[in-house]
């Protein structure tokens, strides 16, 4: 089976209040070494067998374009891996 992990994050230019709040809360817990903290989303797709790498990339990019990513604020990357069915 082919597994695609997609990571969607805010662009560098976007202030993320959620990440800032979590970073401050960690600071209150005593973790003072965190210079930067990012919060994003991850999606894991398990695809049907028999697709070429080209077909997979094409479909994943299309899914991100159409639904998973808002280009106004976010960008994305993904990793493709093969898993063995036990």
């Amino acid at each position: 089976m082919t597994v695609v992990k997609i990571f969607v994050n805010y662009k560098e230019s976007i202030l993320n209040p959620e990440a800032e709040t979590i970073k401050k809360a960690l600071g209150r817990l005593g973790y003072q070494n965190i210079a930067e903290l990012k919060v994003g989303k991850s999606f894991e797709l398990t695809l049907a067998d028999g697709l070429t790498q080209e077909q997979i990339k094409c479909e994943v990019n299309e899914i991100c374009d159409r639904m998973l990513v808002n280009y106004n604020m976010e960008n994305y990357r993904y990793e493709i891996s093969e898993t063995e069915v036990i």
């Binding site: 976007i14 993320n16 209040p17 709040t21 639904m67 998973l68 808002n70 106004n72």
Partner: protein, 225 residues
């Protein structure tokens, strides 16, 4: 004139909008399901507030794939008025009918209160009953109301007079204090404040009435041309 108020799974202001239009403004209004595929016979559409599809993925991100959306896009493209309130604003940005997007409030909390707004443009189909610079009060109730757009888009919004309402004492971090904007053509308005919840003094404000009256004026004038 006849209003359509859309209802998505998770909408929660469609009845408030229906009540404001039917009982306070005494206009003809119908609730239209997200599963409908036509807006024929309607003069204006309200996309109401709430948490459509649970705000899953992003606020408004999934509603834009509902069966009613192609009809909504055609309605807007025909120059007919569309008013998106709160989650309705978020849906309109996600659907590409309005520029920019709504992020989490910088204050890190959901904000629910009466809010003072400035009428930045009183020459739109939604604001002609107000005066430019007039300060009005409408309730806000949102967690993702922080308007963001890139520099170029913000400049275009200002130059084209697309910023209709701004906040006094910005509650959520919105750029340019933006509370409501139109599309370039001016017939689609998205706003975070709730005019439908500000239509009677007992609710804390009746300043929302003029917004709907402006819209009614606009449709009636267009009908006579």
């Amino acid at each position: 004139m006849k209003f359509a108020v859309l209802a998505f799974p998770g909408s929660n202001c469609e009845k408030d909008s229906f009540y404001a239009l039917k009982d306070v403004l005494e206009e003809d209004v119908a609730l239209v399901s997200y599963q409908a595929e036509s807006l024929d016979g309607f003069d204006a559409v309200v996309v109401p507030g709430g948490f459509s599809y649970g705000d899953y993925l992003r606020s408004g991100a999934l509603a834009r794939f509902a069966p009613i959306i192609p009809a909504l896009k055609a309605f807007a493209a025909a120059g007919k008025p569309v008013l998106g309130i709160c989650n309705g604003f978020q849906i309109l940005t996600e659907a590409g009918l309005l520029p920019g997007s709504l992020q989490k409030n910088t204050a890190g909390k959901f904000i629910c209160r009466q809010q003072k707004l400035v009428v930045a443009n009183a020459q739109t189909p939604f604001s002609s009953r107000y005066q430019a610079g007039q300060v009005i009060t409408l309730p806000i109730a949102h967690g993702d109301g922080n308007y963001y757009a890139d520099e170029q888009t913000l400049q275009e919004l200002e130059e084209n007079g697309q910023i209709v309402f701004t906040y006094q004492d910005n509650p959520n971090g919105s750029l340019k204090d933006i509370a409501g904007i139109t599309n370039q053509a001016g017939n689609v308005l998205g706003m975070m404040p709730h005019p439908e919840r500000g239509v009677e003094e007992i609710l804390g404000s009746a300043d929302g009435i003029q917004l709907f009256q402006s819209l009614i004026d606009h449709v009636e004038v267009a009908a006579h041309e």
